[in-house]
Protein backbone atom coordinates (compact mmCIF):
# COMPACT_ATOMS: atom_id res chain seq x y z
CA UNK A 1 0.00 0.00 0.00
CA UNK A 2 1.30 3.47 -0.80
CA UNK A 3 -0.22 6.64 0.54
CA UNK A 4 0.78 10.28 0.29
CA UNK A 5 0.86 12.63 3.20
CA UNK A 6 -0.19 16.22 2.62
CA UNK A 7 0.59 18.98 5.07
CA UNK A 8 1.50 22.63 5.09
CA UNK A 9 3.38 25.45 6.72
CA UNK A 10 6.90 24.16 7.39
CA UNK A 11 10.40 25.23 6.40
CA UNK A 12 14.05 24.42 6.90
CA UNK A 13 14.64 20.83 7.86
CA UNK A 14 10.97 20.18 7.47
CA UNK A 15 11.22 20.87 3.72
CA UNK A 16 12.85 17.51 3.31
CA UNK A 17 9.92 15.89 4.99
CA UNK A 18 7.50 17.50 2.54
CA UNK A 19 8.53 15.17 -0.25
CA UNK A 20 8.65 12.02 1.84
CA UNK A 21 6.55 9.11 0.77
CA UNK A 22 5.05 6.85 3.33
CA UNK A 23 5.84 3.19 3.09
CA UNK A 24 4.36 0.46 5.18
CA UNK A 25 6.66 -0.72 7.94
CA UNK A 26 9.16 -3.33 6.78
CA UNK A 27 10.81 -5.60 9.30
CA UNK A 28 14.02 -4.14 10.66
CA UNK A 29 13.71 -0.61 9.26
CA UNK A 30 11.96 2.63 9.96
CA UNK A 31 9.17 3.66 7.66
CA UNK A 32 9.33 7.30 6.68
CA UNK A 33 5.98 8.14 8.16
CA UNK A 34 5.70 11.84 8.71
CA UNK A 35 2.95 13.57 10.55
CA UNK A 36 2.11 17.03 11.66
CA UNK A 37 -0.23 17.52 14.54
CA UNK A 38 -3.74 18.25 13.33
CA UNK A 39 -2.73 18.85 9.71
CA UNK A 40 -2.35 15.43 8.16
CA UNK A 41 -4.56 14.02 5.45
CA UNK A 42 -4.12 10.39 4.54
CA UNK A 43 -5.39 9.31 1.15
CA UNK A 44 -5.86 5.60 0.74
CA UNK A 45 -5.86 3.89 -2.67
CA UNK A 46 -9.13 4.08 -4.60
CA UNK A 47 -10.23 0.55 -3.81
CA UNK A 48 -10.65 1.34 -0.14
CA UNK A 49 -11.36 5.07 -0.23
CA UNK A 50 -15.04 4.53 0.39
CA UNK A 51 -14.43 3.17 3.87
CA UNK A 52 -14.30 5.95 6.42
CA UNK A 53 -14.59 3.88 9.54
CA UNK A 54 -11.24 2.20 9.78
CA UNK A 55 -11.70 0.87 13.26
CA UNK A 56 -12.32 -2.79 12.67
CA UNK A 57 -11.20 -3.26 9.11
CA UNK A 58 -7.70 -1.87 9.29
CA UNK A 59 -5.21 -2.59 11.99
CA UNK A 60 -4.34 0.19 14.37
CA UNK A 61 -0.82 0.47 13.09
CA UNK A 62 -1.76 1.63 9.60
CA UNK A 63 -3.14 4.81 11.08
CA UNK A 64 -0.56 5.69 13.65
CA UNK A 65 2.68 7.52 13.49
CA UNK A 66 5.86 5.58 14.02
CA UNK A 67 7.26 6.50 17.39
CA UNK A 68 10.22 5.42 19.40
CA UNK A 69 8.16 4.94 22.60
CA UNK A 70 11.34 4.34 24.42
CA UNK A 71 13.64 4.30 27.34
CA UNK A 72 16.96 6.09 26.93
CA UNK A 73 19.59 6.92 29.50
CA UNK A 74 23.00 8.52 29.81
CA UNK A 75 25.41 8.67 32.77
CA UNK A 76 28.64 10.64 33.23
CA UNK A 77 31.64 9.01 34.87
CA UNK A 78 35.24 10.04 35.38
CA UNK A 79 36.70 9.88 31.90
CA UNK A 80 33.60 9.54 29.75
CA UNK A 81 29.94 8.68 29.49
CA UNK A 82 27.83 5.54 29.30
CA UNK A 83 24.71 5.69 27.15
CA UNK A 84 21.97 3.13 26.72
CA UNK A 85 18.63 2.54 25.04
CA UNK A 86 16.04 -0.16 24.45
CA UNK A 87 15.35 -1.31 20.89
CA UNK A 88 11.63 -1.10 20.22
CA UNK A 89 9.92 1.11 17.62
CA UNK A 90 6.15 1.05 17.57
CA UNK A 91 3.37 2.14 15.25
CA UNK A 92 0.45 2.01 17.62
CA UNK A 93 0.44 -1.52 18.97
CA UNK A 94 2.58 -3.01 16.20
CA UNK A 95 6.30 -3.22 16.81
CA UNK A 96 7.72 -1.91 13.57
CA UNK A 97 11.30 -2.65 14.53
CA UNK A 98 12.34 -4.78 17.50
CA UNK A 99 16.08 -4.27 17.07
CA UNK A 100 16.28 -0.51 16.55
CA UNK A 101 19.46 1.35 17.21
CA UNK A 102 18.52 4.54 19.00
CA UNK A 103 22.11 5.52 19.81
CA UNK A 104 23.08 7.63 16.84
CA UNK A 105 26.60 8.96 16.24
CA UNK A 106 26.77 12.67 15.61
CA UNK A 107 30.52 12.88 15.59
CA UNK A 108 33.42 10.64 16.49
CA UNK A 109 32.97 10.97 20.25
CA UNK A 110 29.48 12.49 20.45
CA UNK A 111 26.29 10.43 20.34
CA UNK A 112 22.66 11.20 20.76
CA UNK A 113 19.89 9.01 22.23
CA UNK A 114 16.60 9.49 20.41
CA UNK A 115 13.05 9.33 21.76
CA UNK A 116 9.73 10.56 20.41
CA UNK A 117 8.82 10.51 16.74
CA UNK A 118 11.22 8.30 14.79
CA UNK A 119 11.04 10.50 11.71
CA UNK A 120 11.56 13.75 13.56
CA UNK A 121 14.53 12.53 15.53
CA UNK A 122 16.22 10.97 12.52
CA UNK A 123 15.81 14.15 10.54
CA UNK A 124 17.12 16.33 13.34
CA UNK A 125 20.07 14.04 13.96
CA UNK A 126 21.00 14.08 10.28
CA UNK A 127 20.83 17.85 10.15
CA UNK A 128 22.92 18.29 13.29
CA UNK A 129 25.48 15.75 12.08
CA UNK A 130 25.93 17.81 8.96
CA UNK A 131 26.19 21.11 10.81
CA UNK A 132 28.59 19.74 13.40
CA UNK A 133 30.81 18.14 10.77
CA UNK A 134 31.07 21.43 8.95
CA UNK A 135 31.81 23.31 12.17
CA UNK A 136 34.48 20.82 13.15
CA UNK A 137 36.26 21.17 9.81
CA UNK A 138 36.20 24.94 10.14
CA UNK A 139 37.70 24.78 13.63
CA UNK A 140 40.10 22.01 12.69
CA UNK A 141 39.57 20.28 16.01
CA UNK A 142 37.09 18.00 17.73
CA UNK A 143 33.80 19.76 18.48
CA UNK A 144 32.59 20.26 22.04
CA UNK A 145 29.67 18.19 23.32
CA UNK A 146 28.06 21.43 24.38
CA UNK A 147 28.16 22.65 20.79
CA UNK A 148 26.34 19.55 19.58
CA UNK A 149 23.76 19.96 22.35
CA UNK A 150 23.24 23.60 21.43
CA UNK A 151 22.65 22.71 17.81
CA UNK A 152 20.03 20.18 18.88
CA UNK A 153 18.45 22.72 21.16
CA UNK A 154 18.33 25.38 18.44
CA UNK A 155 16.46 23.09 16.12
CA UNK A 156 14.15 21.55 18.71
CA UNK A 157 13.18 24.94 20.08
CA UNK A 158 12.71 26.69 16.73
CA UNK A 159 10.46 23.96 15.38
CA UNK A 160 8.92 22.99 18.70
CA UNK A 161 5.36 23.16 17.35
CA UNK A 162 6.03 20.76 14.53
CA UNK A 163 8.38 18.35 16.24
CA UNK A 164 8.00 15.67 18.85
CA UNK A 165 11.53 14.85 19.88
CA UNK A 166 13.20 14.16 23.21
CA UNK A 167 16.95 13.82 22.82
CA UNK A 168 19.85 13.15 25.15
CA UNK A 169 23.23 14.28 23.81
CA UNK A 170 26.28 12.66 25.38
CA UNK A 171 29.95 12.40 24.57
CA UNK A 172 33.51 13.17 25.44
CA UNK A 173 35.65 16.15 24.50
CA UNK A 174 39.20 17.07 25.52
CA UNK A 175 38.15 20.27 27.24
CA UNK A 176 35.49 19.09 29.69
CA UNK A 177 35.63 15.30 29.60
CA UNK A 178 32.43 13.24 29.67
CA UNK A 179 29.21 15.27 29.54
CA UNK A 180 25.49 14.55 29.29
CA UNK A 181 23.04 17.19 28.05
CA UNK A 182 19.32 16.62 27.86
CA UNK A 183 17.09 18.34 25.31
CA UNK A 184 13.53 17.25 26.13
CA UNK A 185 10.34 17.98 24.15
CA UNK A 186 9.93 21.74 23.95
CA UNK A 187 13.55 22.53 23.36
CA UNK A 188 15.20 23.36 26.68
CA UNK A 189 18.75 22.19 27.31
CA UNK A 190 20.42 21.36 30.57
CA UNK A 191 23.49 19.43 31.66
CA UNK A 192 22.92 16.63 34.17
CA UNK A 193 25.19 13.94 35.61
CA UNK A 194 22.56 11.34 34.83
CA UNK A 195 19.59 11.69 32.53
CA UNK A 196 16.71 9.42 31.48
CA UNK A 197 14.17 9.98 28.75
CA UNK A 198 11.37 8.45 26.74
CA UNK A 199 8.06 6.94 27.79
CA UNK A 200 9.67 4.29 29.96
CA UNK A 201 11.70 6.80 31.92
CA UNK A 202 8.84 7.68 34.29
CA UNK A 203 9.06 4.24 35.87
CA UNK A 204 12.71 4.48 36.73
CA UNK A 205 13.09 7.97 38.20
CA UNK A 206 12.88 6.50 41.67
CA UNK A 207 15.43 3.80 40.87
CA UNK A 208 17.87 6.24 39.28
CA UNK A 209 17.52 8.79 42.10
CA UNK A 210 18.24 6.18 44.72
CA UNK A 211 21.05 4.29 42.99
CA UNK A 212 23.12 6.95 41.29
CA UNK A 213 26.25 8.04 43.12
CA UNK A 214 28.84 10.50 41.89
CA UNK A 215 32.22 8.96 41.14
CA UNK A 216 31.10 5.55 39.85
CA UNK A 217 33.50 3.59 37.67
CA UNK A 218 32.82 2.64 34.07
CA UNK A 219 31.73 -0.92 34.98
CA UNK A 220 29.42 0.34 37.71
CA UNK A 221 27.83 2.78 35.28
CA UNK A 222 27.31 0.03 32.71
CA UNK A 223 25.62 -2.18 35.30
CA UNK A 224 23.51 0.71 36.61
CA UNK A 225 22.35 1.64 33.10
CA UNK A 226 21.57 -1.95 32.09
CA UNK A 227 19.54 -2.54 35.25
CA UNK A 228 17.60 0.70 34.95
CA UNK A 229 16.74 0.02 31.32
CA UNK A 230 15.67 -3.53 32.14
CA UNK A 231 13.31 -2.31 34.87
CA UNK A 232 11.78 0.24 32.51
CA UNK A 233 11.39 -2.28 29.71
CA UNK A 234 9.52 -4.61 32.06
CA UNK A 235 6.97 -1.96 32.96
CA UNK A 236 6.60 0.09 29.77
CA UNK A 237 4.75 -1.50 26.88
CA UNK A 238 6.45 0.76 24.38
CA UNK A 239 9.97 -0.22 25.45
CA UNK A 240 11.52 -3.63 25.00
CA UNK A 241 13.76 -5.86 22.93
CA UNK A 242 17.46 -5.74 23.65
CA UNK A 243 19.53 -3.25 25.60
CA UNK A 244 22.08 -1.36 23.55
CA UNK A 245 24.95 0.25 25.44
CA UNK A 246 27.89 2.39 24.42
CA UNK A 247 30.84 3.82 26.33
CA UNK A 248 32.39 7.03 24.98
CA UNK A 249 35.76 8.12 26.28
CA UNK A 250 39.09 9.45 25.17
CA UNK A 251 39.92 6.03 23.74
CA UNK A 252 36.89 6.08 21.46
CA UNK A 253 33.54 4.32 21.42
CA UNK A 254 32.82 0.75 22.62
CA UNK A 255 29.39 -0.63 21.83
CA UNK A 256 27.61 -3.63 23.34
CA UNK A 257 24.29 -5.37 23.09
CA UNK A 258 22.62 -7.28 25.91
CA UNK A 259 20.13 -9.78 24.55
CA UNK A 260 16.77 -10.52 26.17
CA UNK A 261 17.79 -13.70 27.95
CA UNK A 262 20.95 -12.09 29.30
CA UNK A 263 19.22 -9.12 30.94
CA UNK A 264 19.54 -8.78 34.73
CA UNK A 265 16.75 -10.45 36.67
CA UNK A 266 14.78 -8.97 39.56
CA UNK A 267 12.77 -10.93 42.07
CA UNK A 268 9.42 -9.44 41.20
CA UNK A 269 9.63 -9.54 37.40
Amino acid sequence: MHFTVVFSGLSGVCDRLRQARVRTPAAGSFSNVVSVKMATVLQFPASVSTFNNYNDLYPDWTQREVSTGTTIMAVEFEGGVVIGADSRTTTGAYIANRVTDKLTPIHERIFCCRSGSAADTQAIADAVTYQLGFHSIELDEAPLVQTAASLFREMCYRYREELMAGIIVAGWDPRRGGQVYTVPVGGMMTRQPVSVGGSGSSYIYGYVDSNYRAGMSKEECLKFTAEALTLAMERDGSSGGVVRLAVISEQGVERQVILGNQLPKFSTV
Partner: protein, 218 residues
Amino acid sequence: MSEELFPEPEWLSEEVKTGTTIIAVTFDGGVVLGSDSRVSAGESVVNRVMNKLSPLHDKIYCALSGSAADAQTIAEIVNYQLDVHIGHSEDDPLVCSAATLVKNISYKYKEELSAHLIVAGWDRKKGGQVYATLNGLLSRQPFAIGGSGSFYINGFVDAEYRKNMTKRESQEFVVNALTLAMGRDGSSGGVAYVVTIDKDGAEEKCVLGNELPKFFDE
Protein backbone atom coordinates in the same frame (compact mmCIF):
# COMPACT_ATOMS: atom_id res chain seq x y z
CA MET B 1 -20.05 38.28 31.12
CA SER B 2 -17.69 35.99 29.36
CA GLU B 3 -14.64 38.15 30.04
CA GLU B 4 -13.76 38.89 33.64
CA LEU B 5 -11.12 41.17 35.02
CA PHE B 6 -10.21 38.63 37.69
CA PRO B 7 -11.10 35.20 36.40
CA GLU B 8 -12.00 32.58 38.96
CA PRO B 9 -9.01 30.47 39.91
CA GLU B 10 -9.05 27.05 38.38
CA TRP B 11 -8.90 25.29 41.69
CA LEU B 12 -12.31 26.51 42.79
CA SER B 13 -13.94 24.40 40.15
CA GLU B 14 -11.49 21.52 40.09
CA GLU B 15 -12.40 18.36 41.88
CA VAL B 16 -10.28 17.72 44.93
CA LYS B 17 -7.95 14.83 44.24
CA THR B 18 -5.48 13.07 46.34
CA GLY B 19 -2.82 13.01 43.60
CA THR B 20 -0.81 10.76 45.74
CA THR B 21 1.70 8.09 46.45
CA ILE B 22 0.60 5.09 48.47
CA ILE B 23 2.42 1.87 49.13
CA ALA B 24 1.86 -1.27 51.19
CA VAL B 25 4.43 -4.03 51.76
CA THR B 26 4.25 -7.39 53.53
CA PHE B 27 7.07 -8.49 55.77
CA ASP B 28 7.58 -11.57 57.85
CA GLY B 29 4.89 -11.10 60.50
CA GLY B 30 2.83 -8.18 59.22
CA VAL B 31 2.50 -5.30 56.82
CA VAL B 32 3.73 -1.72 56.51
CA LEU B 33 1.61 0.92 54.80
CA GLY B 34 2.83 4.33 53.73
CA SER B 35 1.44 7.45 52.12
CA ASP B 36 2.32 11.06 51.42
CA SER B 37 0.12 13.87 52.74
CA ARG B 38 -0.75 16.19 49.87
CA VAL B 39 -4.29 16.87 48.64
CA SER B 40 -4.51 19.07 45.58
CA ALA B 41 -7.29 20.81 43.70
CA GLY B 42 -5.78 21.80 40.39
CA GLU B 43 -2.54 23.54 41.29
CA SER B 44 -3.54 24.48 44.79
CA VAL B 45 -2.63 22.28 47.73
CA VAL B 46 -5.75 22.25 49.87
CA ASN B 47 -4.38 20.03 52.61
CA ARG B 48 -0.68 19.44 53.16
CA VAL B 49 -0.97 17.16 56.16
CA MET B 50 -3.72 14.72 55.26
CA ASN B 51 -3.37 11.20 56.58
CA LYS B 52 -4.39 8.91 53.77
CA LEU B 53 -4.05 5.74 55.81
CA SER B 54 -7.51 5.05 57.10
CA PRO B 55 -8.37 2.33 59.61
CA LEU B 56 -11.03 -0.19 58.62
CA HIS B 57 -10.53 -2.20 61.78
CA ASP B 58 -7.91 -2.62 64.52
CA LYS B 59 -5.51 -4.53 62.36
CA ILE B 60 -6.73 -3.61 58.87
CA TYR B 61 -5.96 -0.30 57.21
CA CYS B 62 -6.55 1.04 53.75
CA ALA B 63 -4.56 3.59 51.77
CA LEU B 64 -6.54 6.16 49.79
CA SER B 65 -5.77 7.59 46.36
CA GLY B 66 -7.66 9.24 43.51
CA SER B 67 -10.63 11.44 44.22
CA ALA B 68 -10.53 12.45 47.89
CA ALA B 69 -14.29 12.37 48.34
CA ASP B 70 -14.76 9.00 46.67
CA ALA B 71 -11.93 7.36 48.57
CA GLN B 72 -13.00 8.65 51.97
CA THR B 73 -16.59 7.61 51.38
CA ILE B 74 -15.61 4.10 50.36
CA ALA B 75 -13.46 3.78 53.46
CA GLU B 76 -16.28 4.92 55.74
CA ILE B 77 -18.82 2.62 54.15
CA VAL B 78 -16.51 -0.37 54.38
CA ASN B 79 -15.70 0.46 58.00
CA TYR B 80 -19.41 0.22 58.76
CA GLN B 81 -19.98 -2.88 56.64
CA LEU B 82 -17.11 -4.67 58.31
CA ASP B 83 -18.61 -4.05 61.75
CA VAL B 84 -21.91 -5.45 60.53
CA HIS B 85 -20.12 -8.44 59.05
CA ILE B 86 -18.40 -9.43 62.26
CA GLY B 87 -21.50 -8.73 64.34
CA HIS B 88 -20.92 -9.75 67.94
CA SER B 89 -18.27 -12.35 67.12
CA GLU B 90 -15.04 -12.20 69.08
CA ASP B 91 -12.78 -12.89 66.13
CA ASP B 92 -11.06 -10.20 64.19
CA PRO B 93 -12.17 -9.95 60.55
CA LEU B 94 -10.03 -11.36 57.79
CA VAL B 95 -8.13 -8.89 55.63
CA CYS B 96 -9.60 -10.68 52.65
CA SER B 97 -13.13 -9.78 53.85
CA ALA B 98 -12.30 -6.11 54.12
CA ALA B 99 -10.64 -6.15 50.72
CA THR B 100 -13.62 -7.90 49.18
CA LEU B 101 -16.00 -5.31 50.59
CA VAL B 102 -13.86 -2.53 49.10
CA LYS B 103 -13.66 -4.36 45.81
CA ASN B 104 -17.43 -4.82 45.66
CA ILE B 105 -18.06 -1.11 45.97
CA SER B 106 -15.25 -0.19 43.57
CA TYR B 107 -16.53 -2.60 40.97
CA LYS B 108 -20.23 -1.89 41.29
CA TYR B 109 -19.76 1.85 40.97
CA LYS B 110 -16.69 1.83 38.77
CA GLU B 111 -18.17 4.26 36.25
CA GLU B 112 -18.99 6.85 38.90
CA LEU B 113 -16.06 6.53 41.22
CA SER B 114 -12.42 7.25 40.63
CA ALA B 115 -10.56 6.03 43.66
CA HIS B 116 -8.02 3.31 44.21
CA LEU B 117 -7.69 1.82 47.67
CA ILE B 118 -4.97 -0.54 48.78
CA VAL B 119 -6.14 -2.72 51.69
CA ALA B 120 -3.55 -4.21 54.00
CA GLY B 121 -3.53 -5.77 57.44
CA TRP B 122 -2.82 -8.76 59.62
CA ASP B 123 -5.09 -11.62 60.55
CA ARG B 124 -4.62 -14.87 62.41
CA LYS B 125 -5.28 -17.07 59.39
CA LYS B 126 -2.83 -15.78 56.78
CA GLY B 127 -0.68 -13.25 58.59
CA GLY B 128 0.24 -10.05 56.81
CA GLN B 129 -1.53 -9.48 53.48
CA VAL B 130 -1.77 -6.70 50.90
CA TYR B 131 -4.64 -6.45 48.43
CA ALA B 132 -4.88 -4.09 45.45
CA THR B 133 -8.41 -3.11 44.39
CA LEU B 134 -7.76 -0.89 41.39
CA ASN B 135 -10.79 -0.47 39.12
CA GLY B 136 -12.71 -3.21 40.88
CA LEU B 137 -10.25 -6.08 40.67
CA LEU B 138 -9.03 -7.89 43.74
CA SER B 139 -5.44 -9.01 43.70
CA ARG B 140 -3.31 -10.22 46.59
CA GLN B 141 0.29 -9.17 46.13
CA PRO B 142 3.52 -9.16 48.13
CA PHE B 143 3.42 -5.36 47.83
CA ALA B 144 1.34 -2.75 46.02
CA ILE B 145 1.86 0.84 44.98
CA GLY B 146 -0.73 3.34 43.84
CA GLY B 147 -1.45 6.94 43.03
CA SER B 148 0.07 9.34 40.56
CA GLY B 149 3.46 9.24 42.23
CA SER B 150 3.69 5.48 41.99
CA PHE B 151 4.69 5.56 38.32
CA TYR B 152 8.06 7.00 39.19
CA ILE B 153 8.94 4.31 41.68
CA ASN B 154 7.95 1.23 39.69
CA GLY B 155 11.57 0.59 38.77
CA PHE B 156 12.75 1.24 42.32
CA VAL B 157 10.31 -1.14 43.99
CA ASP B 158 10.85 -3.86 41.37
CA ALA B 159 14.58 -3.69 42.00
CA GLU B 160 14.68 -3.27 45.75
CA TYR B 161 11.87 -5.45 47.06
CA ARG B 162 12.94 -8.73 48.56
CA LYS B 163 10.75 -11.36 50.17
CA ASN B 164 10.90 -11.78 53.96
CA MET B 165 12.37 -8.45 54.91
CA THR B 166 12.41 -7.57 58.59
CA LYS B 167 10.08 -4.97 60.01
CA ARG B 168 12.79 -2.30 60.09
CA GLU B 169 13.84 -2.98 56.50
CA SER B 170 10.25 -2.78 55.26
CA GLN B 171 9.72 0.52 57.03
CA GLU B 172 12.88 1.91 55.43
CA PHE B 173 11.85 0.56 52.05
CA VAL B 174 8.46 2.30 52.36
CA VAL B 175 9.96 5.62 53.48
CA ASN B 176 12.56 5.54 50.70
CA ALA B 177 9.95 4.76 48.07
CA LEU B 178 7.68 7.57 49.28
CA THR B 179 10.53 10.05 49.36
CA LEU B 180 11.62 9.23 45.82
CA ALA B 181 8.08 9.53 44.53
CA MET B 182 7.46 12.82 46.36
CA GLY B 183 10.66 14.12 44.83
CA ARG B 184 9.43 13.58 41.30
CA ASP B 185 5.64 13.88 41.43
CA GLY B 186 4.23 17.37 41.80
CA SER B 187 0.98 16.02 43.22
CA SER B 188 2.68 14.17 46.07
CA GLY B 189 4.50 15.77 48.94
CA GLY B 190 4.41 16.93 52.51
CA VAL B 191 5.16 14.39 55.21
CA ALA B 192 5.20 10.62 55.11
CA TYR B 193 2.73 8.65 57.19
CA VAL B 194 3.73 5.10 58.00
CA VAL B 195 1.56 2.47 59.70
CA THR B 196 2.99 -0.87 60.79
CA ILE B 197 0.54 -3.68 61.53
CA ASP B 198 1.48 -6.98 63.13
CA LYS B 199 -0.07 -9.42 65.58
CA ASP B 200 0.26 -6.92 68.40
CA GLY B 201 -1.69 -4.16 66.69
CA ALA B 202 -1.16 -1.09 64.55
CA GLU B 203 1.50 1.54 65.15
CA GLU B 204 1.21 4.90 63.40
CA LYS B 205 4.15 7.13 62.70
CA CYS B 206 4.71 10.41 60.90
CA VAL B 207 8.06 11.19 59.27
CA LEU B 208 8.47 14.94 58.83
CA GLY B 209 9.92 16.55 55.71
CA ASN B 210 13.34 17.26 57.18
CA GLU B 211 13.66 13.72 58.50
CA LEU B 212 13.12 12.12 55.11
CA PRO B 213 16.17 10.51 53.46
CA LYS B 214 18.16 12.60 51.01
CA PHE B 215 19.34 11.42 47.61
CA PHE B 216 22.21 12.42 45.42
CA ASP B 217 20.78 15.59 43.96
CA GLU B 218 19.86 17.32 47.22
